[in-house]
């Protein structure tokens, strides 16, 4: 397929969309969250219902990726009215169809609703949950059928790839990404443009692009939702990166616990190859780029870039010391660009709208938007995307609809096992890289666990330490033995058996493990402990055995 063919397809698909014979479109969320609460049966039942009523020429039913409030699933959205139904059950589909499509009015009692609000919003776009979000990476998630490349093409899919191949030099692409000031969304926040430029500068016949989809933080599912909801966006971002740095091969490393994401991503590769948007001589140019999926086997540490690379090479997934960084010597010793799923998902909008547009969103040091996975004691648990710099208060109370059962907010845990807890007095913290670090936490990949007073902070620290202890690869001593010792000490405190000496040793070990571990897993494993000690020290001291 050449450039003209692509334009023709997009034109034809857009025409089809405009002259749409359907009066209504019903989107049923088929992300892994909603599927687990039965959305596939709902979809089937809905299609039967539409058929029995003879509405199939008026109503289009499509499966989509994640819509957001996962704990309210299965979700079903009626367009153009924008009525979203929550916890849809096969038994009330008939009633919903009757009311919505025949009587032309929604059933208010079944609409998306947070317990903290007085009544549901008829048009879901009025709900602060949607109103306060800004979706860039998740733009098409929940609107398009992720299993059809045509759906993506209609929404300007692959136009950015077309643009870079025909109108931009690799240097210009890198300059655009640099100008956007986007920082790596995997957690560490390294400027993506700088990374691209570094890999670009290493001269080598063979370079690689790797997409890190080995998301492993407890409670986090940003990458999963992007891969499930809009796999082509990630693929396009990878191809653009390949063009920019001079790579002809990409690997998407996706964790094995995400079968649906793997299935959809592999399907996306197949579809893109068929249309000549991937493979040899893309769109008739000299640029060739191929992507292969590699499936993780359940090790958290394989999200660390050097361990991930070892795993792709077929070796035991253990990190190695850096330098040399993968940009210089990565996969099979070749210069390698490795970015997170969410980073790649933001690339095509940056190319389409310009780096400057992206850089103006967010805060001066943290540009753009960030996807968070809200979990815990919050009314709307699920997936959100907000501009950097949005306060935690806005996220919890406006977007998240407040704490369940009207309880008080106690703390928010960011960054998973590498992050820390933010107490209530810092609810007005701006969610950006620097502000979170200054509170002893990190942005991380975007996990955000909300806790109320029922959470015991020492136990929270113990939980995350247990996680790190189990997930340590066992290569270096501080992480292998240090996390075990810290876990045992935390367990002792939880059992009210520890003394002040134990607490002192725990603190000393925490700093030791942080500073001496080989990789980021060990280096950040003490963070949940250190941050709870900083903000909730009293809870530790209350449990210390006092000797007279």
């Amino acid at each position: 397929m050449n450039r003209q063919d692509l334009k023709t397809i997009i034109y034809a698909e857009k025409k089809k969309e405009e002259t749409n014979k359907y009066k209504h479109k019903i989107c049923v969320c088929c992300g892994a969250g909603c599927i687990s609460s039965g959305s596939e049966e709902v979809m089937k039942k809905l299609q039967e219902e539409i058929k029995t009523r003879g509405l199939e020429n008026e109503v289009e039913v499509i499966p989509t990726g994640c819509m957001g409030p996962c704990n309210q699933g299965p979700l079903m959205k009626f367009l153009p009215e924008y009525n979203i139904y929550q916890k849809v059950d096969c038994s009330n589909i008939s009633a919903i169809v009757q009311s919505q499509l025949i009587e032309k009015k929604p059933i208010e009692d079944l609409l998306l609703f947070a317990d903290s609000r007085e009544k549901p919003f008829i048009d879901a776009r009025d709900d602060p949950y949607f109103k306060k979000q800004l979706k860039i990476a998740l733009k098409n998630c929940g609107h398009i059928n992720p299993e059809r490349i045509e759906d993506y093409l209609v929404h300007n899919g692959y136009l950015a790839l077309d643009k870079v191949l025909f109108e931009m030099s690799p240097e210009e692409v890198i300059a655009e990404v640099k100008q956007s000031r986007i920082r790596g969304r995997g957690g560490a926040g390294y400027p993506a443009g700088l990374k691209w430029e570094t890999v670009y500068k290493y001269v080598n016949d063979q370079k690689y692009v790797i997409c890190n989809g080995d998301e492993g933080d407890p409670g986090a599912f940003m990458d999963r939702s992007v891969l499930e909801g809009n796999p082509h966006r990630v693929l396009e971002g990878m191809a653009i990166a390949g063009y920019a740095i001079g790579a002809n091969k990409g690997y998407a490393y996706i964790r094995g616990e995400y079968p649906l994401a793997i299935k959809r991503f592999e399907l996306a590769i197949k579809q893109a190859k068929k249309l000549g948007l991937l493979g040899n001589n893309i769109l008739g140019t000299t640029f060739s780029f191929d992507v292969e999926v590699r499936i993780g086997a359940g090790a958290f540490v394989c999200g660390e870039e050097t361990a991930l690379i070892a795993s792709i090479e077929g070796k035991r997934g253990t990190p190695r010391p850096r330098p040399p960084f993968p940009a210089e010597s990565g996969l099979w010793g070749k210069p390698t660009l490795i970015n997170n799923v969410e980073t790649f998902a933001a690339i095509s909008p940056i190319i389409n709208n310009g780096g400057e547009w992206y850089s103006e969103i967010g805060t001066p040091k943290s540009a753009g938007t960030k996807v968070f996975a809200l979990a815990g004691k919050i009314n709307y648990a699920g997936l959100i995307e907000v501009p950097m710099g949005t306060t935690l208060r806005e996220i919890v109370f406006d977007i998240g609809g407040g704490i369940q059962n009207g309880e008080d907010f106690k703390a928010a845990q960011t960054g998973g096992p590498s992050g820390g807890c933010i107490p209530a007095e810092h609810l007005d913290v701006k969610m950006d890289y620097e502000s979170l670090v200054s509170l002893g936490s990190i942005m991380g990949s975007g996990g955000l666990i909300i806790m109320d007073k029922s959470s015991d902070m020492v136990d929270v620290a113990r939980f995350f330490m247990e996680f790190c202890m189990d997930e340590s690869c066992g290569k270096c001593v501080p992480c292998r033995v240090g996390t075990r010792m810290m876990h045992d000490l935390l367990q002792k405190i939880c059992e009210n058996k520890a003394t002040q000496i134990d607490l002192d040793r725990l603190e000393e070990l925490a700093v030791y493990v942080k500073e001496t571990s080989l990789c980021g897993l060990g280096g950040s494993a003490p963070n949940p402990l250190l941050s709870t000690l900083r903000h909730f020290r009293q809870e530790y001291e209350n449990r210390i055995v006092q000797h007279d």
């Binding site: 340590s472 270096c476 001593v477 292998r480 010792m485 080989l518």
Partner: protein, 235 residues
Amino acid sequence: MNTIPIIIDEKKLEVDPGKTILEVCRENEIEILTMCHLKGVLDIGACRLCLVEIEGINKLLSACTTKVAANMIIRTNTDRIKKYQRITTELFFAERNHVCAVCVANGKCELQDLGYKVGLDHIRYPHLFPQCEVDTSHPWYVMDHNRCIMCTRCVRVCNEVEGAHNWDVMNRGHQVRVISDFNSPWGESVTCTSCGKCLHACPTGAIWPKAIVQGQLQKNPGMINELVEKRKMKL
């Protein structure tokens, strides 16, 4: 070859670029403690004993895997580094069952030497006392996992020097174990050539020949590098 200037512990040196900090220190009689390093096999930076401070880099880097660069200012013996070396040593001893008095390696053990060097008189952390296997299935050698410190010198020497790749690692975290083949008894290995290099590579009393008793172990870890060098000379 052109040399580059670096400073290690206030000492001004002119060194060959391309060498690691550890190599330079050893050549200049600056002591760096190591456990997982074995001359002749690839370095992995796992024991974290050789960490050094480098001006301008906020992370501690392992001397065995970091190459020297011009004008590097390196410190190897600050209070912080000494403190961390001691903690690492304590963790080694607390992790498995190291009882020198009844160990074949008593007096010939690099872990024991390390204990003396860092002035270890007691261990502040509880001993974990894991139940580890002692594999006596090999006709000549014994693998005692109780004494293993997971330096993986045996794994590397078997793979890189002997080319057999009998040894590897399984499991994660504190559950890691060195395994023979796909975790079968050593005596049943189809890859082991019984060359005995792992025995010389082992810093502790984890791998030893049968028919010796406490303190009788003879080891020559230096032979590994001699072998590697001789092979390079194609003798």
